[in-house]
């Protein structure tokens, strides 16, 4: 019965509304006062039932809840035979709760979407060797699972047999499917684009990388800042205090109407819900856009950041060498590129990989008589031609003639910090490529955006040599840059900034070898590649290692912090307004109080919801 009443709360609210409507109709249109009173009493009794139940249940666990205030207020209204008020107050309270629930679900929608990406079922091998569909909760470590084309991989595991292309975008951000063969590791929540594989479960449920990300976000949206903890403690005593004040006022003034009005006005709704709503909407927006905030404390501190310290390799730069410039000499370049690609395909060298990626997929030709010269390159025979691919030393060994123009090109590329790859066909230089670890695209624009948001200094700390560090620093227009630094040097440097200079410092790094710095800085931001270490040691995770999310993250943190302050102002303002109304005005009564109270709750929720749509303006 109890549960039935509680479950039908929204239907009860609707019935109340109908009864109240009927009551006013019979009174105003037909002049039937008694009928109206009966209808209003019915509405009040019906409406107050779920509220009473909630109040009693809360009392059982020693919590004085808002429901109790409303219950007593309605009883008081009954005593003074003001049935109009009692009916309207119960209706508004129920209807408000209904709207709150609906809007709250909206603010939580972003995170819910993330959670719903989690795999639900798995094909598990039973004792007979057949596979049967089971709930993902029933999978234990060591179980053998079958994953078919198009299915979500249910757990973190290792491929036992079969092969297929897996889309790992949800974990690593890599948009291109990755080939997984026997022995390869697969992540829960990623999708098998084609092929069929059998895997053995290594980590299940909350232990998987995906599970950890979800847990992190869920804990973050419920983590409390100092302000929130204060409000919570405040609310715990505030509600009983209001009850007490109501009783005292009633006892002294003998004015029951005033006493119950105070009970209704005192409901602490907007204050208690305002900050959590901003928090959950802000964190939800982040989660949707690849930015994980670890809680509202982090958001508050991040919004005050004035100095950002960067790691270089893998943070400001891509961390993977790629071809930055190409120069061609003579004709038949198409052929030369094909020869170069065919040779480089045989090599595991990072430079070879960069070159191959640049040339792309080609109709590779068979390569014969390969000779490798360590530290120089490869010479081989392709399509009947002698092809040399390597650096200047190899070209000299091969007696390749380097023209004056080529020498100038080489000097220019080296000046920019490139490693060189050259290709000569039959002793004639055809191709010159400069390969380096390049600055991520868009970093410069992102830094300008961050500066406009109030960040004063950008500092780069790197283990790399001074020359390279200065080149990158100049190109990006950083405030300061230091090379030859060990991880502990970086942490010391950050400590001096925070402790001696009073800066609020955010450190951006790749999360693995930078953990001391991540921990030392006020805010540690990891360019996560879905690694557990990155998730655990940092305060903010930029999923998919996407640097361009950094301005969004800072903007969102600032907007969320601002939103929280607005909600506190709204809540406190409303209470002050209502109290002033009781003291100074004639028109303040229970119904108006309840209306304003529920209105303010909806106002803070709607204000919080704006954060879901937060987006950085493209060009500021």
């Amino acid at each position: 019965m109890k549960r039935f009443i509680l479950k039908s709360k929204s239907r009860i609210a609707l019935l109340c509304a109908l009864l109240i409507g009927a009551a006013f109709a019979s009174k105003l249109m037909f002049g039937k006062e008694e009928a109206a009173v009966l209808l209003l009493v019915a509405a009040s009794v019906l409406g107050v039932a779920p509220i009473v139940i909630q109040a009693i249940e809360a009392l059982k666990v020693k919590v004085v809840s808002i429901d109790l205030l409303v219950t007593i207020a309605v009883l008081g209204a009954f005593v003074i035979r003001n049935f109009e008020e009692s009916a309207i107050v119960t209706f508004l309270f129920l209807f408000g709760a209904f709207l709150e629930q609906r809007t709250l679900n909206k603010t939580r929608s972003a995170i819910k979407e993330l959670v719903e990406m989690a795999p639900q079922t798995a094909l598990k091998q039973n004792k007979d060797g057949d596979f049967e569909k089971v709930d993902v909760d029933e999978v234990d470590v060591g179980d053998v699972l079958l994953v078919k084309t198009g299915a979500k991989i249910p757990v973190d595991g290792t491929v036992l047999s079969g092969e297929g292309y897996v889309n790992e975008a949800s974990i690593t951000g890599e948009p291109l499917p990755v080939l997984k063969e026997k022995g390869a590791f697969v992540y829960a929540g990623t999708i098998l684009d084609n092929g069929t594989i059998q895997i053995v479960a290594d980590r299940v449920g909350e232990d998987t990388t995906f599970g950890k990300i979800i847990e992190l976000v869920e804990e973050a949206q419920d983590s409390k800042s100092k302000v929130e903890r204060f409000i919570d403690r405040f609310a715990r005593y505030y509600t009983p205090a209001v009850l007490l004040i109501g009783l005292v006022v009633g006892a002294f003034t003998r004015d029951l109407e005033l006493a119950v009005t105070i009970l209704v006005l005192g409901c602490p709704g907007a204050l208690v819900i305002g900050v959590p709503v901003s928090n959950v909407a802000g964190i939800g927006n982040g989660a949707k856009n690849g930015v994980l905030f670890k809680g509202s404390e982090v958001i508050g501190e991040f919004s005050r950041v004035d100095t950002i310290v960067f790691d270089k390799t893998g943070t400001l730069t891509t961390g993977v060498p790629s071809v930055s410039e190409k120069v061609y000499y003579g004709d038949n370049i198409e052929k030369a590129l094909l020869y170069l690609a065919s040779i480089e395909r045989e090599s595991d060298h990072p430079l070879a990989k960069a070159v191959l990626k640049e040339i792309g997929n080609a109709e590779f030709l068979p390569v014969e008589g390969t000779a490798v010269f360590k530290g120089e390159g490869i010479v081989a025979s392709v399509d009947g031609h002698r092809v040399a691919a390597g650096n200047l030393a190899l070209m000299e060994r091969e007696g390749v003639k380097i023209s004056q123009k080529a020498r100038e090109d080489i000097a220019r590329l080296e000046e920019k910090g490139n490693s060189l790859v050259m290709a000569a066909v039959d002793g004639e230089l055809k191709i010159l490529m400069g390969v380096r670890d390049q600055i991520r695209p868009g970093v410069k624009e992102n830094l300008i955006n961050l500066k406009k948001m109030g960040v004063k200094d950008f500092i780069m700390l790197s283990g790399d040599n001074k020359g390279t560090v200065e080149k990158v620093s100049r190109e990006l227009g950083l405030t300061e840059a230091h090379g030859n630094m060990l991880p502990e040097d970086k942490a010391d440097f950050i400590r001096r900034l925070t402790d001696d200079k009073g800066r609020v410092v955010a450190f951006v790094g790749d999360g693995i070898n930078d953990s001391p710095s991540l921990a030392t800085a006020n805010i540690g931001i990891a360019m996560g590649r879905g690694t557990d270490v990155a998730i655990e040691t940092s305060d903010v995770v930029l999923m998919n290692s996407d640097f361009s999310k950094l301005p969004h993250a800072l903007g969102l943190a600032k907007a969320t912090a601002r939103n929280m302050r607005q909600n506190i102002y709204i809540a406190v303002g409303v209470v002050v307004f209502l109290l002033a109304g009781v003291i100074f005005s004639e028109w303040m009564n229970m119904s108006v109080g309840m209306f304003v109270h529920e209105g303010s709750i909806l106002a803070v929720i709607l204000n919080g919801m704006r954060l879901l749509r937060f987006k950085l303006k493209k060009k500021i």
Partner: protein
């Protein structure tokens, strides 16, 4: 000692969280400091001693407060 996660219907008011926390802590066999009600995720996480209280009892206690329990699991 076992850890449990209980998924509830959507919680609407922060005071609901207080109530649920109080109810769970009141049960003998539930580790008091371990009770954590995640308001936004609408989840309860806690640790308990199976010898003293069953997970079903904990679920019943929460349902008695008027909150629907969607799913529960131990780990």
């Amino acid at each position: 000692m076992k850890k449990a996660t209980i998924q509830l219907e959507t919680l609407a008011c922060p005071s609901c969280a207080l109530k649920i926390e109080g109810a769970a802590k009141a049960l003998d066999g539930v580790v008091k400091d371990s009770v954590k009600v995640l308001f936004n995720a609408s989840k309860v996480k806690l640790e308990f001693y199976e010898s003293k209280v069953s997970l079903e009892d904990i679920v019943k206690a929460i349902e008695a407060l008027g909150y629907e329990v969607v799913k529960w699991q131990t780990n």
